[in-house]
């Protein structure tokens, strides 16, 4: 015979102002199986908890129902109390009479009736509850960071400093990400390299960090604490252990007209190359598509001159399998392609560039070696026009609906740096709104307008006509003056919207991590769990989660690292016992459960079954990996034969609750 105790909380006046708590306690006291029912001002206080503990002990309660707030708030608190009293914590249930009742109703009578109904449902469930014990699994004390931009580097350094091993898997030949391409950084205008390269070197030298460059994640299996990851190393054609980065091969390479993605094709580089002088690791790699030796079997100069004997034309892609306890995703962002924005003539004139290209034009490691020169003829530009919001805040379907967040600030930076270095240059900025809410950001923008006399114009460019001398005839609207403007410019710089890296989507599928409609990784809770992905053990850092500047990126990376450290520091992880399980005798092997499982927790196996006539039948049946299952219940809903069920939320328990509510 069940002995159930019911405890009704006032929550100060949060509940009791709308719900007649005395009446709820009284009514519930008459339910079959309920041996004790009371109300109390604050159930979550230590005296409230002690009340529960005392009554469990005193009356030998076999089940407890707390009528109070959402289980998200205090389920853990009360389950701990039950545990203390020696009652299996899964024999305690909560009825949410605050968020789902007192807070949303005004009529006291109705709210009281609803509270009674909710409490009854909980009692009906507790009647069927069984004791559950969470399993535990080991934690592999190594972290994987995917993407070696400033976000990945910062997260890796923090985790490594805490004493855990970290691998940074980076697709390119060097770590550093977008910041390596930037000249100076807002709002303080310190040079990007000066703040970035020391960190890159720190990563390389840290005893706990391994840099896995020119590599990508191939497959991911397993679960929090226990991920098995296959990493694909792309052929480098140069042995990184032997290469000293001396650069002799680059001087001799005859293939000198190879497009250089680091300089966004504004200048060529050689087939064997080092991305830029401060690259980490400082080793050469060969662009196989453009190497004469690899393509045509003729040349081999680099191998001849290499003093370290590091060149290997036969190098092949390879796969390595590794185990990790935690994964940090930091794959960053990229400017969108401007293909849909032909009114700016990006495809029709070399003097129309993106903001990232402008960074390269300004940079000391760029094609102009620090002097801004027009791509068409190498002349010094005298009139430069900037257009913001190209593809951002765009509801026409050509671009992105969101604000890319960083463009107002970097455009102000570009305008200011240009005026500072070349005071004879006229600079125009066309803007939609100037958004500058960061620390010191508005002052920064105002400095561009007030001190550097940049012409800020609210409006937009409608048409760009390139001329034979390379100049651009720009037609634009000034919305404040209600005027048409005609500007003859030397250079037009477009602040393209930012989007997630193209590899983010397939990666999210491998991780079973979720994304929003624009393919940004989504966090577990937008306010309270901003660096955790909904998939346990996967954390988010930097611009892969949404456009961010460097300060925001670094802050988020640190937060993600601390969450990962919190996981890695544990020896064992307690699982969630409320997981799915399948009744093999009822399962008909239809695969519907496996198809809906978002976590990949369900597999199928062929099993022998003894039949009543003593023959053996081989049947395909579902099996759930309890360590991977998150207990979402999707499988129990689709299962046509009723074989799939969830511990703690069985079909029977749910129906009992529904019956109690409706009958």
């Amino acid at each position: 015979m069940q002995k159930i105790g019911v405890f009704v909380c006032h929550c100060g006046t949060n509940i009791s102002a709308t719900v007649d708590v005395k009446k709820v306690a009284e009514t519930l006291g008459k339910e079959p199986g309920v041996v004790y029912s009371t109300d109390y001002q604050f159930m979550c206080s230590s005296s409230g908890q002690n009340l529960v503990i005392d009554k469990i002990k005193e009356l030998g309660l076999t089940g407890v129902v707390i009528c109070s707030c959402s289980p998200r708030m205090h389920e853990k608190t009360f389950r701990k109390a039950a545990d203390k009293a020696g009652l299996n914590s899964f024999l305690l249930e909560m009825a949410n009479i605050r968020e789902q009742d007192a807070w949303v109703h005004k009529n006291r009578e109705e709210a009281t009736l609803k509270a009674v109904a909710l409490a009854r449902a909980a009692v009906a469930k507790v009647h069927l509850n069984t004791p559950l014990t969470p399993g535990s699994s080991d934690v592999n004390k190594r972290a994987l960071v995917i993407g070696g931009g400033i976000a990945g580097m910062q997260a890796a350094l923090d985790i490594a400093d805490a004493g855990f091993k970290v691998d940074i898997v980076e697709r390119e030949a060097t770590i550093g990400g977008t910041m390596t391409q930037i000249d100076k950084t807002f709002p303080t205008l310190d040079c990007a390299s000066c703040i970035l390269t020391p960190k890159m070197v720190d990563c390389e030298q840290h005893e706990n960090i391994s840099l896995v460059t020119k590599s990508e994640v191939d497959t991911i299996e397993g679960y929090v604490g226990n991920f098995t990851v296959k990493i694909k190393h792309k052929a480098k054609y140069v042995d990184p252990d032997k290469c000293t980065g001396c650069g002799l091969c680059i001087q001799k390479c005859p293939s000198k007209k190879v497009p250089d993605p680091f300089n966004l094709n504004l200048a060529p580089h050689t087939a064997i190359n080092i991305t830029f002088p401060q690259a980490v690791p400082l080793v050469a790699t060969i662009d196989a598509d453009n190497c004469l030796m690899i393509q045509k079997g003729k040349c081999g100069l680099c191998a001849t001159v290499c003093p370290a004997d590091a060149i290997n034309y036969e190098d092949k892609d390879s796969i390595e399998e590794k185990k990790y306890g935690a994964i940090i995703v930091s794959t960053g962002f990229k400017p969108i392609s401007l293909h849909n924005f032909d009114e700016y003539a990006y495809d029709n004139s070399p003097n129309v560039v993106t903001s990232l290209e402008y960074e390269r034009l300004m940079s000391a490691t760029g094609p102009g070696k620090g002097t801004v020169l027009r791509p068409s003829d190498g002349k010094h530009p005298k009139t430069i026009v900037f257009q913001q919001c190209v593809g951002s805040r765009d509801t026409s379907g050509r671009g992105k609906t969101y604000c890319s967040g960083i463009c107002c600030m970097y455009t102000a930076k570009h305008a200011m740096l240009t005026r500072e270095k070349y005071p004879d240059t006229d600079v125009y900025v066309f803007y939609t709104d100037v958004r500058s809410p960061g620390k010191g950001f508005d002052e920064f923008y105002r400095r561009a307008v007030e001190k550097y006399h940049v012409h800020y114009i609210k409006g937009a460019i409608g048409k760009v006509v390139p001329m034979s001398n390379g100049n651009l005839q720009i037609q634009a609207s000034d919305l404040l003056m209600n005027e048409q403007l005609h500007i003859e410019a030397d250079l037009l710089v477009l602040a393209a919207a930012m989007e997630p890296d193209k590899s983010a989507k397939p990666l999210a599928q491998k991780l079973t991590a979720s994304m929003d409609n624009d393919d940004w990784f989504t966090e577990s809770h937008p306010k309270l769990r901003p660096v955790e992905s909904p998939t346990a053990g996967v954390f988010l850092a930097g611009a892969c989660q949404g456009p961010k500047d460097i300060p925001q990126t670094v802050a988020q990376a640190g937060a993600a690292a601390s969450k990962a450290i919190g996981l890695l520091i544990k020896d064992k992880l307690q699982g969630n016992p409320c997981v799915a399980h399948s009744d093999e005798n009822m399962c008909n092997g239809c695969s519907q459960c496996a198809n809906v499982c978002p976590y990949g927790a369900i597999t199928y196996e062929e099993k022998d079954f003894r039949m009543p006539d003593r023959t053996t039948l081989v049947r395909r049946v579902a099996s759930v990996n309890p360590a991977v299952c998150q207990g979402c219940g999707a499988c129990t809903v689709v299962c046509p034969s009723g074989a799939m069920d969830l511990f703690g939320f069985s079909n029977k328990q749910i129906l009992a609750e529904v019956d109690a509510l409706c009958l």
């Binding site: 924005f341 032909d342 003539a345 029709n348 006509v465 034979s468």
Partner: protein, 266 residues
């Protein structure tokens, strides 16, 4: 392949060259333009009258005629193309319009937008293929720098016409390449020629066409080609000292195919 051909009024008057060169070139390239009998004005002057039923009727008659002959409808004039294709689209998407037009016309079977509408250039690109056009060229336009002038009617509204990228089209450039010429890209090529404002405010139209011509000249075009009689008229009015003449694209085609030689293309 036989197409239902809708010439339109201008092609029977001032733009005879556009029509005749188009027809003979079609034959040389293996397709026939079969003129729709009893066609009437496409409604060209009234394109912007969206809610006007009467102006849609003649277009729908032509479209229905093509439907009955089970042929696609082809035009050479940009304006006719624009009007007929937009009307056809309205007959598919706007059920109210469809009902009203059919009530007026009392056809044997209601017309619901079944006919496909193509511009001659689309036939060259998508049905014949520019590579085939290139093979048929007898007098390639070696060394000729040709600017394509699109105007607006071929390109916009882009979502309905789906002819080419309205901001950076390339179909005429590919056409010029197929004929052995060198296309000159100048960004004013899709700007308005002034259209009918030339009747009301000649100066305004003149300002527009001057900008177009100056840009084409500056980028090095020897001459321009167009598919629109109205554009051609407006640009000719402003073609100062005949420095950059403007021809119909079919004249160029007929010349390159060796069908109708023209001194100026040699």
């Amino acid at each position: 392949m036989v197409y239902s051909y809708y010439p339109g009024c201008t092609l029977k008057n001032t733009a005879k060259e556009l029509d005749e060169c188009g027809r003979i070139s079609a034959e040389a390239l293996g397709f026939t333009l079969e003129e729709i009998t009893d066609w009437q004005c496409c409604g060209g002057q009234y394109t912007s009258g969206k809610d006007e039923i009467v102006t849609k009727l003649s277009s729908v008659r032509a479209l229905d005629d093509a439907k009955k002959s089970e042929q696609d409808l082809v035009t050479l004039c940009s304006a006719c193309y624009n009007v007929i294709k937009q009307t056809n689209n309205a007959m598919i998407e706007d059920s109210d319009m469809q009902m009203k037009v059919n009530n007026y016309l009392k056809l044997d079977e209601p017309y619901k937008g079944e006919t496909s509408v193509y511009h001659f250039l689309e036939v060259l690109r998508d049905k014949v293929g520019f590579d085939k056009v290139k093979e048929a060229v007898k007098a390639p336009l070696k060394g000729k720098k040709v600017g394509a002038y699109y105007g607006c009617l071929l390109l916009r509204p882009g979502k309905v016409l789906q002819f080419d990228d309205p901001e950076n089209p390339k179909i005429m450039e590919d056409f010029i390449k197929a004929l052995g010429g060198t296309p000159v890209i100048y960004n004013m090529r899709n700007e308005c020629c002034g259209g009918y404002t030339i009747l009301e405010d000649t100066d305004a139209a003149g300002r527009n066409t001057s900008k177009i011509l100056l840009n084409a000249e500056d980028m090095g075009a020897d001459f321009l080609i167009t598919a629109c009689p109205l554009c051609q008229y407006n640009l000719m009015q402003n073609s100062l000292s005949e420095k950059t003449p403007i021809y119909y694209f079919t004249e160029l085609l007929a010349h390159a195919l060796g069908l109708r030689e023209k001194e100026c293309f040699k």
